[in-house]
Subunit: 307 residues, 4 copies
């Protein structure tokens, strides 16, 4: 089960597809192994970057089951359950927890009006997912929903809230404000993982984050940065981080990012195919060439091996 | 099967729920009967106002099956299949057509960039729904997607496009422009039904609409207005329409409209419960009183009986 | 000066232009006279429907001065001062108050994040407009900013806030909530005027509104509805209102509404030209014909004379 | 005058303020000198990052005049003239060109519906700015307006369109598509400058951009990258670029970016104060410390001197 002490790199797993769009379970296993080998301390399934809205309910269940079997309890697995209705959210949460998930992640949906409506939604969502440890995703760039530090504190009064995925942008001062409220005794300590593709990882760690939840295709770098920061080697951490920033930047392009991420995972030998479910973008030859150039630089400069 | 000659009132059916949120199949039957008795020349299921996103796939299928059995081929039934992925759209379309649906309705999703991307999406969606007659929903207030008259013409070059649900606002000049393009031989004639809660029905009919697709709780008025306009009795049509405009206006309130609509259908004895699936609004006592006042005026002034 | 006892119809004045786009000051005088003759108990200048963003600063000043001279203190005149920066807001407010305006209206701008940011903005805006009576415009359909009843109460603790322009939609329950907070002693009584083109005037008055602020082209009807509601003649009030609802509905079409409103004011002999500043829509012949049809019905059924 | 051969780094100048919010003309001069000394081949005034909407018309004129006098014709100066009405756009354009500006930049505003409406707006805007060379800003992240390669070609048929500021994201394939249309003789060659804070400069240059228009606080790096890319030294160019990417990333934070940029310009001795006009964000001590850390790394690793 996920607890408020969770930390490290939680890798957001993409959903691998065969060229015809069917689930690619062989790649699913290989990917799970690769992420754990890279030092992942958790996995996240069926998030936005997992193409969850494009999966049939049965496919989502099949994929979740496959990953959970492969992980076999070695690390906690969080499953995304954001849905237009609480009935569906409840069904996804129950199904996932029954299969062995460690927690359920939900982002408040677009259209909620005002702080009270958002706070009320979070409480209702916690009720919907039942006893499952709850991960609150704060991602206003996608949802348009603002969650203040005080609202996080309010939600954290409920013991089911164990983790915040903090990806407001700019969001660093909010992260500091939450940690300050904890120190001031105004809320219990919760686990906070950064997001946003990892692009502010060093700063997030300085501000008190416990780690990061992202699907960036080189989780071993994220693991290393966290270790170096923890050891007080900030310059070395920043060096390791900076080498990857050009690729992180490319992965952050809206709409195109997931296609790039899958391409990189194919280059690394982790996925068999870079297929996205339709409708979705395809990488141009020029983009592929640009990404491959960045990968070659990574190999040369950072000692990382593609595969 | 739905054809380009379809006309009249297509009633958008809400999905009836029991107080605990389960499907209310008894009300489903009663509602189906009531809409046909009111003169509906078609039904539409699983649209935005049908709470489709809050249904499990199995529930959506159960509901669709129940309505189709009750209708028993007397009028065409259109099923909404808008979905984030074409795989899901295909599954809904096939499932519905196998059960006896007459056509599939899709609205292009938010985020498409530029006319070509929209036109391309429409073609891909027609491929996804296969041989099913295709209803294009033009609803930019919800989707942010603009579809020009020329883009409708482009889509109508494909024989599968049989109907446009025209609910851009303002949208009357576009409706005229499409009919003009048809007259000019620039596109084949298609069926066009207005939308937007019916609030511009007289003008839409003057501009060449074949009818209206809305879930307004008194479809018999819409039927009557169409008949009077067809008989050249515009003033009588407008009189009949104007009597309902205060209630139509109330039903158009974003977020609250469906709750009001279900309340009215309960007052009419058509639904057993006004339940919306969570999360959803509840009517305040003051709102109920205001709606009931408008209903009493309707009974007095327009000769319509609630039940 | 505007006070918390303000009530009645505040007419939002459009800015009249000559065919070449220059200010039409002769029409400005005629319009001012016509609105006062219709029973307006206040005027509002330079709002969204006054094409304020299309005016040069000097033109805005000239127009404001002209209206204020014509009004000559007979009714309070509110001037809109929403602006991207507080420096500009301060300049508009000072300029207008020096010329004799009775109050300044501001809507919080898009992009504010969370209740506290909105409340803080309102306080800063009150500081920017100085000692001028402050009208808070609550118009989330345009701004995306939610203002709860509790936030209105917070702002009303400052004596400078005298009036709320309440045009959230749905917004009737919020109006009731504010009046209840006043009764419960949680906030002082403020003036509340409805908005939204007047489309919910009877309900707003029932909920406790003091009147309405809108530019609907027949303010005499609004005056009459308020009088009848005040006299307890709700049915008569609703009858008077319902006769105008088809035209109110047409005026509410986004983007097109102001062009329709100016067309009606030309038909009434109040404006010389229906010119909008570019970029702006033009009415098609079909739309003009539809509006003129509604005007003829108004003349026949409600005894109102166009001019 | 700006021509279709324009290239290099066009620095978007912030508007310097004194602590009380008044224009800081001494800093304006120092900033102008610094940008030219850094190798800027053009300047851009009164863009979004120039806080243009927060300036009075007279202040905007004063600032423009001051910069133009200081530049004294050494490089072309582009002035932003996006405005809600064409009358205002015309006034800004005329005023700026009379003072010696080399071109006028306009972005189509939010709310235009469909490709034709956008193309039509661009033509009307070119008419509004008269004979001035026209820079089309393609910035959908801010405006929500999509401009395809074909629409750029359509606009470029008018000789007044001399430059595209290309900051769609992802936008690299569109840049390639435009250059391909030029090669295929489907449109004349125009100047294309990248944007988006410079974060894709190497890729943009590879795709055929002539330079970049951004206010990133170290324009000398951008100049160097362009020179190295032009000399075929892509690895060296990427090295120079990568060293700055962490700071570029920080400057890209929505809302906070300009405050960071002004802070860096103060640290460099270019601006006297980092003041933003209210309402605007303030940097926390933690953010200042993070930015200063990145600056120290820049000094150490890239040989760049702060001042």
């Amino acid at each position: 089960m996920l607890t408020r002490n969770a930390k490290g790199v939680f890798v957001i797993a993409p959903t691998p597809f065969l060229p015809d769009g069917a689930l690619d379970l062989a790649s699913t296993d290989r990917m799970t192994d690769a992420f754990l080998a890279a030092g992942a301390q958790g996995l996240t399934l069926l998030g936005v970057m997992g193409e969850a809205p494009k999966l049939e309910q049965e496919e989502a269940l099949t994929f979740t089951k496959r990953v959970l079997q492969r992980v076999a309890g070695r690390v906690p697995v969080v499953v995304g359950a954001s849905a237009p209705g609480f009935a569906t959210m409840r069904a996804i949460a129950r199904g996932s927890m029954d299969l062995g998930a460690a927690g359920i992640m939900v982002a408040p949906p677009p259209g909620l009006k005002g702080d009270d409506a958002v706070s009320s939604y979070i409480m209702q969502a916690m009720d919907a997912v039942g006893d499952a440890p709850f991960v609150l995703q704060d991602f206003p760039q996608l949802t348009g929903i603002h969650i203040s530090a005080a609202m996080v504190a309010r939600a954290a009064a409920d013991a089911r809230l164990v983790m915040l995925k903090a990806e407001d942008c700019p969001g660093l001062d909010k992260l500091s404000a939450i940690r300050q409220m904890e120190k001031d005794g105004k809320m219990p300590r919760i686990s906070i993982l950064g997001g946003n593709g990892g692009q502010f990882l060093p700063e997030e760690l300085s501000r008190g984050a416990d780690g990061v939840m992202t699907g960036y295709a080189f989780p071993e770098m994220l693991v290393k940065v966290i270790a170096l920061m923890g050891a007080g080697q900030r310059d070395a951490a920043q060096d390791a981080f900076d080498a990857h920033l050009p690729l992180i930047r490319s992965e952050l392009q809206p709409g195109l990012g997931l296609a790039i991420r899958k391409h990189v995972l194919v280059r690394r030998g982790i996925l068999a195919h870079a297929t996205l479910r339709a409708p979705g973008p395809k990488l141009s030859a020029a983009t592929v060439s640009e990404i491959d150039y960045l990968l070659r630089r990574l190999e040369m400069h950072s000692g990382i091996k593609l595969s």
